[in-house]
Subunit: 346 residues, 4 copies
């Protein structure tokens, strides 16, 4: 964790650790007078929740959102919306052996380097549970965006070396039809099998998620899509991405039609940092989860060699559960940009 | 262009268009009492400058920095440092034919969508000249970081399909030894040849830059490395990057030595968003420049079909000149994080 | 309510309405490794609490703070500290008659002008209960400042026309010895009598608070002391305040002694926006509470004349309870400035 | 100087010292497509300029604004507007004797306490010349506000003990009819005489300014009016101000008429931090200028006693020239709040 704030006008400030009271936040800049659907927010949390299928961690976290302010009679009042998702089903004692130990490729040592102290239980603030706050804020942003006609399609397009070579806008039904959240039945089956194999080895595997956004109004903001959870994300590309490196300008340029749309969309819907009305799409690469169920050599606080035995309940592959997180982040950015764009002209 | 601010404590606010009076900015948060080397700042601008070799654009922009405030007797006073780099050698009339036209894959149309008005001369605010302000701020940040022992190695590692398969820390002499700023003599020769070929076709080509940073103190900030110039950057990865997607956790995890260093460095020097003292490295992918010297179909303001003929003087490949920009951005982020880290413990 | 954020490095983001779930917030930028005294925070809330004496409102609000994150084993971890003070003893039905009515000199009409909707129960977000979040954050800031040797003396120095003509640093015991929190026994007695009289008339009365801060280190920040609760504060002065208007420079200037202290302290400890090590002092004027127990003419949503009858339980004079709020705000500002000053020199 | 930023959406970042190259800034958030009147900006600078009458300092500073970006064909483009007002007619050698000396009630010592270094020439960054940047930004904000129908009346209402007991909205012609910028011919004559007397004594005198703003739309923002130049402002009050302290609620409350206006306006046009459409008015108290032409005892860097002899050319009373500054600050705040209010409802 580092920046705990996200956004400008539509702005989330989050707090909370994995094994503390809960994960929560304050959302400022929600326009007043909008009827918020709390069930929709809960649905997004359920998609992020551990324990939802046999290929995710077996922790069963209810992750129920409580809204603490900012609503009257179900409508937004324009004032800050506070919320909390209380922690449950914590096995803090699973982490007792880590009080003095530094796990490889976790934030244990860097937090102590920076703060001189850390909450060792479940990763503390660096836990992926911090993304709960983003899912809540994103679910709210998405309700406003849906009202504007914006539509999202977010899905797993790679697990290990198994890749979906199709970057279409898939319907939610197809994405949610399987545990991996990959909309191709055949490929998702292979992905699921790989995840199971990896888990049986006590290991983990990386993956990637694609997000396609339709009907963003042209002329809004700078979708920087930064600040994805730093613990897991290693790479980001939008539009043509790293493929652009090998292309010539004459092929990469998106030629206009008379109606202002473009033949190709290598720009990924963004030109000069501003939306052009074409589909926005980007892709995020996730590293394999650092917690594995195999013994690993490591060191403790004193720099002495120790052996870490994998404990706790963790995901063998994070991308199926990260789909709603990526979508939430995208929704937050686009809605913030939309609000900012409303004061750009006189 | 969108956000014109960058950083928190060490913060740049920039302004200026390609064909206006100049590009400038205000830098806040520079610690007081430091002897600033203005020649060093100028050297970085010279590395970014057009017209420096036969494979870059033939525009000859002196790009001389003028410091307007914040210094006394050559030392920083802790107050805002204003600066300007005046524009010269502008051929604004080269752009007259673009007043009504929208060039493909430029920000012409999106700026009009957002603002209803635009400065059509040389790309206006969306011009890559805006990066001048970042180079100045980065050059200042780098002087403080050098004082702390931090060292940078930034170089071109790919042009089209020609790639340097070596991510070492190369010395500046090797990088600056050729026009491409790729530290391998043989590969840089092939890259240069490709750029010349592409230019002779009136075309452009993409590329990628790698940045390796040594001796960053452990325990600082969240190097998000966001906000690279949105016009050209399409992709970003740090540490193992997109390769992590295909790896298992047991291979990806960086095991500790007794001294707190790690055997491998897939984390890229950053764990949980905080530096761990290992080399930080990342890679940025650039699309081919959109302005080509070939005729292209496009549309004008009224949506009528037109043909755009390439005019003006532009780079066939942007990466050789983008090396100091990438390094400047990295320096700004790390120095800002360093300053923020100084208040993280009691 | 308006800005829900306060501070830069040490930063509070607050939320909550008078009759919702509670008042809470997130505090970022708390240095790690500090043993926080939760009882001290509770003590400050108790000083702000309604129902603490017969001259305050008879609402009995327990106002118990719950810390939700940011601590381990009682020590700060450097991560955001979330907290909530749940609302209790709400008589929301007391406000049913106000759903359509606009009370004079309240924020009822302006909130509807701005947001088109409002939480009419107990003032909603514009309620003075919002200050609870500031008291919590200020109590935390004060613990760090005490550790640095900074000392606060905050007290009522005027109620109606009864004024304490002494701006010394009084001890907390003297301030807390009576219900008014005016450290002069005789004057506080007269103030208390006036408040009782005013209450018996169903009316309210204004007042003023003075804050004196000793041992602030020289050379820190810009104590702007802005953003006091906009609903009640009408005036602010520091150092010589409005008296300076009538003074000549030769009299107003604070001459130095050899040790860098000054003979007089018309500057109020602040010169050029930076502390000089002398006592900082300022004064805040509060308007009389708008809710009175008398009938008042007003209008409803349709612009029709109505008569408002005072209901609910309110303070006849707000200053005794506002003492800890003013002190909390001062502590927040000074601690934030202190943290910012730590990166001002190289 | 401390915060060099002002505003949120409409945001000024300023730089520059009294005897450096100039005073300038960057203004972000100016809506696109507005025809800016540069002469109007210059007129406001002329009103602030020294040397404009025999009762102000005899320094003749042309203070000509140069716009560096953000305009095309005289219209705003929505991109940052950079500007500079170059310094002229500097007598830096007038300040040589101050290199080692600390003047009483200036920021000399506090700047050294904070930064360990300072620009001693003409006050450096703490000079009142810094307000030039605010006048430019305020003049731009005012042009937009005039377009919305908002009108300002800002004038001197007190010099020493001579006070204008009338807080009406006076026309600019009446305000500008005399050197003091007090709209009452008789009182301004007495003020002018007092200022002359004080100057002949080599002394200075305090003063106060009132600002009345008509036709602000109801329902916008939180006019905090903070951050007035910290060097000179000692006190601030809006609406009934410190007089409210002595009033009862039954008298202070502003009763509504059927049209939503109020009989009285003790609220000063602001309720709960939000405009109610009634005139906004506030008052600012200025201390006497610290630089006097009399000998004063002081200390140098080593803490040794010295005698400071007044040199340089300074105002005996700052308020006549501060009128456009106060008005500029008010315009900046109100325009920023106006822009923010445009995204408050769905």
């Amino acid at each position: 964790m580092a920046g705990s704030q996200f956004g400008n006008i539509f702005r989330l400030t989050s707090y909370g650790e994995s094994h503390g009271v809960g994960i929560g936040g304050v959302i400022e800049g929600i326009p007043a007078g909008f009827e918020l659907d709390i069930d929709e927010i809960q649905d997004e949390l359920n998609r992020r929740r551990p324990g939802q299928s046999h290929i995710t961690t077996s922790r069963d976290e209810a992750d129920k959102v409580e809204i603490l302010s900012g609503l009257i009679d179900g409508k937004t009042t324009g004032t800050p919306l506070g919320f909390i998702v209380k922690n449950k089903d914590q096995h803090s004692s699973d982490y007792d052996h880590l009080k003095e130990a530094y796990r490889p490729s976790h934030a244990d040592k860097t937090y102590e380097d920076k703060y001189g102290i850390r909450d060792h239980r479940g990763g503390g603030r660096s836990s992926a549970r911090e993304t709960i706050a983003r899912v809540v804020a994103g679910a709210i942003a998405k309700q406003f965006l849906l009202d504007l006609g914006v539509r999202f399609s977010t899905y797993v397009d790679q697990v290990g070396t198994i890749k979906l070579e199709d970057n279409s806008f898939f319907l939610k039904e197809a994405i949610e039809a399987n545990n991996v959240r990959c909309p191709d039945e055949h490929i998702s089956g292979r992905m699921e099998k790989l995840i199971e194999e990896v888990r049986n080895e006590g290991d983990t595997i990386g993956g990637a998620i694609r997000c396609v956004i339709m009907h963003t109004p042209a002329g809004i903001g700078e979708p920087v899509f930064d600040k994805l959870h730093a613990e897991l994300v290693k790479a980001f590309e939008y539009g043509s991405g790293f493929n652009a490196v090998e292309m010539k300008g004459s092929k990469h340029n998106d030629l206009f039609d008379e109606d202002g749309t473009t033949h190709t969309n290598h720009s990924g819907g963004i030109q000069g940092g501003i939306s052009n009305g074409m589909p926005i799409y980007f892709r995020v690469g996730f590293k394999p989860v650092a917690t594995i169920m195999k013994d690993q050599e490591s060191i403790d606080k004193n720099g002495d060699k120790i052996v870490i035995t994998g404990k706790g309940r963790h995901d063998p592959c994070v991308v199926p559960r990260a789909v709603p997180i990526v979508e939430a982040m995208a929704a937050m950015v686009i809605f913030d940009m939309y609000l900012r764009s409303k004061v750009s002209k006189w």
